[in-house]
Symmetry: C2
Subunit: 152 residues, 2 copies
């Protein structure tokens, strides 16, 4: 009954696994080394920096980062200790919290960004031709689409 992987699929799966793991590990290591934060935390700062007023509801932010609420809660607690984010009560829903990017957080992000972008470019985009980039986009969208359906 099991629909096993054929050789082509098996090889693709292992290559994909190896590549994404190595890529993420490299970016995480670089970011940790140069900016003192893991990639997941960097992404939180990015999302906040793009939000109006540099703030977002916790849930919104969790969705944007593809993170669980719990994970985000712990992460924001950590970022608060660093002084890069602060929490604020939501004015329209008394259950809610806003995560707000501080000026110091924005400064950190501005410092970290060039190095990280260079990492993404050199490890990923420099290795692919334009049509591969386009295809990677379509492939990623397809995977994400499938997973969203599964959840529904």
């Amino acid at each position: 009954m099991t629909r096993w992987l054929d050789d082509q699929e098996q090889a693709t799966w292992r290559a994909f696994l190896g590549a994404t793991r190595a890529l993420m590990d490299a970016l995480d290591r670089e970011l940790q080394h140069e900016a003192g934060m893991p990639h997941a935390y960097y992404e939180i700062l990015v999302r906040l920096s793009e939000a109006p007023e540099h703030n977002m509801r916790m849930s919104e932010l969790a969705d944007a980062c593809g993170s669980s609420r719990s994970r985000l809660s712990h992460a924001v607690a950590r970022l608060e200790e660093s002084g890069w984010v602060r929490r604020q009560d939501c004015p329209t829903d008394r259950r809610g919290q806003l995560a707000v990017l501080t000026d110091e957080g924005m400064r950190q992000l501005t410092e970290a960004a060039p190095g990280h972008v260079e990492g993404v470019r050199s490890h990923l985009f420099d290795q692919l031709n334009p049509s591969q980039v386009a295809e990677l986009r379509r492939i990623s969208d397809a995977i994400l689409g499938g997973l969203k359906e599964h959840r529904a």
Copy 2:
């Protein structure tokens, strides 16, 4: 100086990030739920099951799994507690250790495999057409190749 990402690259990067994260999270959750182990541990069992005599040197195994030595050491310790792997002194190098898949470990793997493969198929391959699978393979190889060069 910084080679920033253009819109197409930015969108591709975020889609890729979201897709791989969601995919790995889903597979990890399924494996944890159905087999009581994370994906990284499953991979260790797979590699051992493919090795002659069901055993491998720790370093070899770490390389095969794209894992650090430390990570593997902790993981094998955990798998040893579960009785799925055991350690054995290497006969040719007194510094070395062999990780050996136990019969019970093999049984666990055999039980876990169909569910996991179904996950990989439904979440990944069912979402892609054959040419996308082929392209994903080439893209993954390119990324991996680039990272290996970087290290050298």
